[in-house]
């Protein structure tokens, strides 16, 4: 008990990283998982929106400029005559390319879902392709160069009427318009979902930061009274929350990736032509990767802001 107290000389002061003052304060357990779930939902919603947009673009490219001429005529011989006349006219017409009469086999395939296999058998028996007495119109596909203004369609219709009175010209895109409209609505739905989920994620992070602050109030007050700066103290939380948010974001993104890959495979198996254009490109994936990154940044900023606000209330 007689040794002199070992009071140290003043220590040398070097700049140091403030996180080492106190080991990382851990956030309350469920928050990384909440962030993971939110990020997964947001990424899936965003991927759905992007796939829809890609589909819409591909379909629009495919169909734009495409027209269909129907020869709606009950008598098969007259129908054939008018179809050939219309084809001849389209081959001569300015700005019309690739006109072709849709072959009987394709027509059969088109009507089969509505009229059943009987069409085939009847067609073979009847020779002229009308099954069960139902006349199937002849179809001519063609492409129009330039824009598909209604006036051009009307003019073409007028020309065709002279040689083929039963001809009806349709813009191929017209019957897809409701589909495009629905796809557009779904895209807006995806955007709305993302906005709502971002709000919920922000709120979850805010609550988490407050909880962490409450759980560590004692530590904060002690470091504060020992001369710790607001920035030093905020750093303790900021880093731990950033860490948790990045972890949650990576897990959420991974889960979403698996979901998107599986969905993509099952859609690809549909073999429906319209889905092939929906695949996500690397730009899309880059956009999706922004979701967890932004979530981590927002979480970190929210945590810092919450801690700084609480600290400013202390002397």
């Amino acid at each position: 008990m007689n040794d002199a107290p070992p009071i140290p000389q003043a220590a040398s002061r070097l700049p140091r990283r403030s996180a080492e003052i106190v080991p990382q304060a851990r956030m309350s357990g469920p928050i990384p998982w909440v962030i993971a779930i939110m990020v997964a939902l947001m990424v899936v919603a965003a991927a759905g929106g992007l796939a829809l947009r890609n589909t819409g673009k591909a379909a629009a490219r495919e169909l734009s400029g495409g027209i269909t001429v129907q020869i709606v005529e009950a008598r098969p011989a007259e129908r054939d005559r008018q179809a050939r006349a219309a084809l001849a006219l389209l081959q001569r017409a300015q700005g019309v390319t690739e006109p072709r009469i849709v072959p009987q086999a394709e027509l059969d395939a088109l009507v089969e879902p509505w009229l059943g296999e009987a069409v085939d058998e009847q067609a073979q028996g009847g020779g002229q392709g009308d099954s069960l007495g139902v006349p199937v119109p002849a179809l001519i596909d063609a492409r129009l160069a330039g824009s598909l203004a209604p006036a051009r369609l009307a003019a073409l219709q007028e020309q065709l009427r002279r040689t083929a009175p039963s001809a009806r010209v349709d813009d191929q895109a017209i019957w897809l318009r409701p589909v495009f409209g629905a796809a557009q609505s779904l895209q807006w739905l995806a955007v709305a979902l993302i906005v709502l989920l971002s709000g919920a994620t922000g709120a979850a992070v805010l609550l988490a930061a407050r909880t962490a602050l409450g759980n560590n109030r004692e530590t904060i007050e002690i470091v504060h009274l020992l001369g710790g700066t607001d920035a030093q103290i905020a750093a303790i939380f900021q880093r731990s929350i950033a860490f948790d948010a990045i972890g949650g974001g990576v897990v959420g993104f991974g889960a979403a990736f698996v979901v998107i890959a599986l969905l993509g495979r099952s859609f690809a198996q549909l073999q429906a032509g319209i889905v092939t254009g929906s695949a996500l490109g690397w730009m899309d994936w880059a956009l999706l990767a922004l979701v967890p990154a932004v979530a981590a940044v927002v979480a970190t900023i929210t945590a810092r802001w919450t801690v700084m606000r609480a600290l400013r209330r202390m002397l």
């Binding site: 009071i7 140290p8 001369g227 710790g228």
Partner: protein, 242 residues
Amino acid sequence: MTPDAEGEIVQFDNVGLRYGTGREVLSDVSFTLYPGSFYFLTGASGAGKTSLLKLLYLAQRPSRGAIHMFGTDAITMPRERLPLLRRRLGVVFQDFRLVPHLSAFDNVALPLRVSGAAERDIVQPVADMLEWVGLADRMDARPATLSGGEQQRVAIARAVIGRPQLLVADEPTGNVDPDMAVKLLRLFEALNRLGTTVVVATHDAHLLRKVPESLIMRLDKGRLSDPTGALRYPPRRQTGPA
């Protein structure tokens, strides 16, 4: 001696404190603390000792009056300059205030780390200090696993480790046996001889006699009396060996 050796370290002028809308727990408190002096702050339980120390260690703003510390106005000082002021203080809190999830070692190292000391300047001094207060084998223990007396010694080690200019200790020997109390007072005296101004709050009259050169501040229901005349005039300087 410190650069502030010529002037006063702390000056209170007509300081009053009330918590919320309650009555004043401190009234018309005026005093000056000089560098290198050793003060005891005595008074019955509830007299306001802890409240006065909270003002001293910048954990509380007074309701009225003026406080100057280290030559600057502590009340109007911008908030972001307070941490640098706090780093010149060593505080033994009445309730210890150890960081619960840090070991005894890391708790003692905390003030050095906060003020940016290099790790090589931390390890040996902290270990030596913990050994001296008799906790060599408890360095890795969490506060919750330490007895009250052991926690108090960790708190004291943390307060003195940064060799502060002003040491403020609130009932620092309340939980240790008399022998250890005397030993801890010697630690404060040693620090005092190196130039630190020491303020020890205690309701234990025996303790006062253990430090013969000490000056007494007495609080009675929030009012400060001055039995030794220490507070109104420049007191005799401590001239012990450094």
